[in-house]
Symmetry: C2
């Protein structure tokens, strides 16, 4: 950590999935454990996790943690990148080609995922006012952004998404709904999503799933 020769402006994450050179097997295993533990704890409790707890759950010591990642933030960062990447992959694989249902399903799936990991968006939104260096957000944008853009383009083409809506609008709506999804019962946020989709549709106002019988 004292004098790094040169390299890119991104210091950490040399290869999350490609150890490449001859790394010791236990080192690779511990790195993976740390990433999993960090991701799990972020999902459960948000991004203000105790490093000791990460190490404990990963069943490694503090020295190991800080050998693999220069700082807590770098660890969380790497974990988040992995999470966002796998989300984008799963969402992309779930597409059927029918634009409007795909959009709705993508949003519903994203919110379900968010329900299981309340802390994810917290990490994403953390330090938003200051911005400047929120890499979680950048990772999400890089991984999921193109997918949303494609969904929006296709839905525009099918004529069901009102033309004045941008991919940015959809991303924003997703973040907004994602902030409440984990803290209310699922039927509640499904109602909200339904209303939102109605607002997004060219011709709007379809009946809600079930107005008074929640499930």
């Amino acid at each position: 950590m004292t004098s790094r020769p040169a390299a890119s402006p991104v210091p950490a994450a040399p290869a999350a999935a490609a150890p490449a050179a001859a790394t010791r097997s236990d080192a690779a295993r511990n790195r993976g454990r740390l990433l999993d533990a960090a991701a799990g704890l972020i999902a459960e409790r948000g991004s203000d996790v105790d490093v000791r707890e990460i190490a404990r759950r990963a069943e490694v010591g503090m020295g190991t943690l800080y050998r693999h990642f220069p700082t807590k933030e770098a660890l969380l960062d790497a974990a988040l990148e992995h999470v966002f990447t796998s989300w984008a992959a799963a969402a992309s694989a779930a597409l059927t080609g029918r634009a409007w249902p795909d959009l709705g399903r993508f949003l519903a799936d994203a919110l379900t995922r968010q329900t299981a990991s309340p802390g994810l968006l917290d990490a994403y939104c953390q330090a938003l006012p200051g911005q400047a260096g929120n890499t979680a957000r950048q990772h999400c944008r890089q991984q999921v952004g193109p997918l949303i853009a494609e969904l929006v383009r296709a839905a525009h083409e099918s004529g069901e998404l009102r033309p004045d809506i941008t991919a940015e609008d959809v991303s924003l709506l997703l973040v907004a709904l994602g902030r409440i999804a984990p803290v209310v019962p699922e039927p509640a946020w499904r109602r909200i999503l339904h209303v939102t989709l109605d607002g997004l549709h060219t011709r709007a106002a379809t009946p809600l799933p079930r107005p008074d019988r929640p499930l």
Copy 2:
């Protein structure tokens, strides 16, 4: 916290606006200063403020702070109650009697207010998973809840709000939008609000304010 005799489930908030007995003038002044400082800091940075900083901004010492409020939480609580009360009063005074525009204006005003105080909703939503004792939320519900209920009732009666929407839905939407309003430029969240209102309207899909020219 050891053994409370009986009393109501709300322990704190003896009298935020009614010192009643013969209180010393400086005490009352300092109490007000603490409330203002706390509210200001919560608005700016959310509910994880340093008590020392509250005391510093209020220009009082730590002893004074803890003389007036038994715990940090109690202080934040009292400050939040005051904030929510004045919000409800202002919003209630702004009503014109025309239901649908009133609802839209109420939401827009709430979001503007939220933009100026990003930390407010953080305090409101904090510890939501555990729930159990989030008094900020209770205060908001008590103060603002009836107002939203009335807005929804009137908008239903006017026939413009789709009948399957409940006051709970509107509250939830407000929270969701409030979570993003402070972190994006105002035109962006106004677009989102517009879409949402379209989704709430019986016959939907009116043109957005300005699709591509943000302001």
